[in-house]
Amino acid sequence: MNEIRCAPHVHTSESTSRIMFSVAAALLPAMIGSIYYFGPGVMQVVTVCVAFCLLSEVISKKLFGRTASLKDGSALVTGILLAFVLPPGIPLWIAALGSFLAIFLTKELFGGLGFNIFNPALTARTILLVSFPVQMTTSYLVPFSYRTDAITGATPLAALKEGLDTGIPAAWEMFMGGRAGCIGETSTILLLAGAAFLLLRRIITLHIPLSFILTVALLSLATGQDPVFQVMAGGLILGAFFMATDYVTSPLTGRGKIIFGAGCGIVTFLIRQKGGYPEGVAFSILFMNMFVPLIDRYTLPTKFGFSGKAKK
């Protein structure tokens, strides 16, 4: 027997799992780059994050009796993204705890895939940052130091904030990824390669990343900061292309996405300049996540039959 289906009877080849696995594939170049810069320890963090995300997903499904399956790939993407926003030298048990926070607390408690208000990976990172401030801020490795004796260093933004002379790399170094930072955030070029793939696959649009990055760059320029440094020194590229574009926690329409991205840019800039933390990308995205329902409400498209031309 066949299933009786309502129209339409043809369907695009795109699917939730294809989208998720494409995002995972887009993150691969940056992951490989990170292993090159920070050593095989990176693989351990990624593996622990992915494994515990999948495990948390299975437990949650059992607990809440949800129908969606692991095959949709969303837990895999969350796992990789969480690893990407952790320092390379993070103790593995903290990474495991973070995975549980991302999947169970942030996603499943809010209703599962599609219903979470906050970005799971960034929420987990933020909780870890306030819970384990020491491990989360002193586990940044100096590139290539794993080959001899792994030494930790300050991220460029932290160095700037504390007025250190060392630890501020050249623009070229930051573009390639040879600087201290979270696992997945350092290599601008490899992240852009992955982002280009997602743009070509039409999985993301430029609305959010462009408005986010441009806002940060323009505000830096206006206040006499180095815009190139501000764009590449922290988690902005990773955040703008892979975190802020998360479908579930970003607005639906193009106009809404631009407002969302610009808001992220302003908050990031304010935290970096005025806040207590050197970096504000994660906070800014979570902050703007809260505005998504409001933005959606005020950026609905003009419906057919309602334009100025249409007269009753």
Partner: protein
């Protein structure tokens, strides 16, 4: 042009080159008394009566209703409820063929229609039982009767046939362009309009030269123009066609006449020509049989012909993994049993691959990717409407203008989570109608 819509592989090459072939007169037909929008026709025959081809067997029961004619000569064996290809049920007059009964309505020699008044044309169309043959089956004479206070300014001949797979209208236009365009002229006369457009999708560009030739020949009498529109579903949707051709936007919950336009399908125009010039009632139509069939093609079949007869003749078998869809793949109906008669709005019979019943329950969650918003030609927010409908929040659906949804299927087509959005919207609209809003 309108915003949104989707580009879909057309699959039209399967049947595009197949000349229209006459399907043999079936041994038995079931003619639905309700195969049009509006009230079902009142039966004028009873069991045991003999009827002739073209004889009226049902009369309109109100303003929005239609005459129904017998498509063969024979004997009425019963009047019974049958399932229809559009998923509804209707009382049907079942007629068994009897070749000894002769003297059916002769189609007389073609008459000129120049001397006819608009009212006379409209009456001829009403008598012939013509309804919109593009799928909506709205009684055509009602469309020709412009309500007071409104004025028709232009007529659009809808030859887009934007549904994938279907080629019946294309074949009719190719093989009888003169008849179709004469129908268009008759329509313009009935509406006292002297501005007309023929609209095709670019995949029928090969007809452009011939259409141009015909319309330039009629230019002294009628200011007609050809519009070649991009191949984008739902280009042939009435509201979107008007927008593409005239840049006018039919207001929400309004009708085409609100912006001075009236739209007719290719086969409707031809039926009007035959009715007005030859006195022929609507007793047959051309439909496309295609998909997973041995002999795809375009057939002229009598109204009431059993679909199983057609499937057999075209070498189509139904089995697990294959489903029967009546109409196009975007808006057609997947019916569980092929045991239905052809009705005036049956545009095609498709055999498509099906998913075996899995017993899986539940709908995949929306991931808010917003593809549906880009695809919606009405610029609605299907993602949100779907979430509300899932939670039975009908009023929230209404606030998002769910009643403007044309059920074209673009949102469901692009949804990566394969959410049955159109299904949910039909449900929500039905609930809203029930609650009177």
């Amino acid at each position: 042009m309108f915003k949104g819509g989707v580009r879909i592989s057309s699959f039209k090459e399967l049947s595009k080159e197949g000349e229209i072939s006459e399907f043999p007169i079936p041994g038995k037909v079931a003619i639905a008394l309700s195969q049009h929008t509006g009230l079902p026709a009142k039966p004028l025959v009873k069991k045991g009566d003999t009827v002739k081809e073209g004889q009226i067997i049902g009369e309109p029961a109100g303003f929005i209703s239609s005459y129904v004619h017998s498509s063969i000569s024979g004997r009425v064996t019963s009047i019974e409820n049958r399932n229809l290809p559009n998923g509804r049920t209707s009382p049907c007059v079942v007629i068994e063929r009897d070749d000894t009964i002769t003297g059916g309505k002769e189609s007389g020699p073609a008459k000129g229609w120049d001397s006819l008044s608009p009212a006379e044309i409209t009456e001829a169309v009403r008598q012939a039982g013509i309804v919109g043959m593009g799928g909506a089956a709205f009684p055509t004479y009602v469309k020709l009767s412009i309500p007071s206070g409104k004025k028709a300014e232009c007529v659009i001949l809808n030859a887009c046939e934007c549904e994938p797979f279907l080629t019946a209208d294309y074949r009719v236009l190719t093989e009888n362009m003169e008849g179709v365009l004469e129908g268009l002229r008759i329509i313009c006369k009935a509406l006292s309009v002297n501005k007309a457009y023929v609209a095709i999708e670019s995949n029928k560009k090969n007809l452009a030269g011939a259409i141009e030739k015909h319309i330039s020949a009629m230019r002294p009498l009628l200011d007609a123009g050809l519009r070649i529109l991009p191949e984008r579903y739902p280009q042939g949707s009435e509201k979107h066609l008007i927008k593409s051709v005239t840049c006018r936007e039919v207001p929400s919950m309004g009708l085409p006449i609100d912006v001075g336009c009236v739209v007719f399908n290719v086969q409707t125009a031809l039926a009007i020509k035959k009715a007005v010039c030859c006195g022929e009632p609507l007793i047959d139509r051309v439909l496309t049989v295609t998909g997973l069939v041995k002999k795809p093609g375009n057939l002229r079949v009598r109204i009431g012909t059993p679909v199983p007869d057609i499937l057999e003749a075209c070498g189509a078998t139904l089995s697990t993994g294959r489903k029967l869809v009546i109409g196009g793949p975007m808006m057609g109906v997947n019916i569980p049993s092929p045991d239905v008669p052809v009705i005036k709005s049956t545009t095609g019979i498709l055999i498509l691959p099906a998913v075996p019943a899995s017993g899986k329950k539940g709908i995949n969650p929306c991931i808010r990717c917003s593809r549906c918003i880009g695809a919606c030609p009405m610029n609605l927010v299907p993602a949100e409407m779907g979430r509300y409908a899932e939670k039975k929040r009908w009023d929230d659906c209404r606030i998002l203008n769910i009643n403007d949804c044309i059920e074209c299927g673009c949102c469901s087509y692009v949804c990566p989570a394969e959410r049955p959005l159109v299904d949910l919207f039909k449900w929500a609209k039905a609930e809203l109608r029930r609650n009177g809003s």
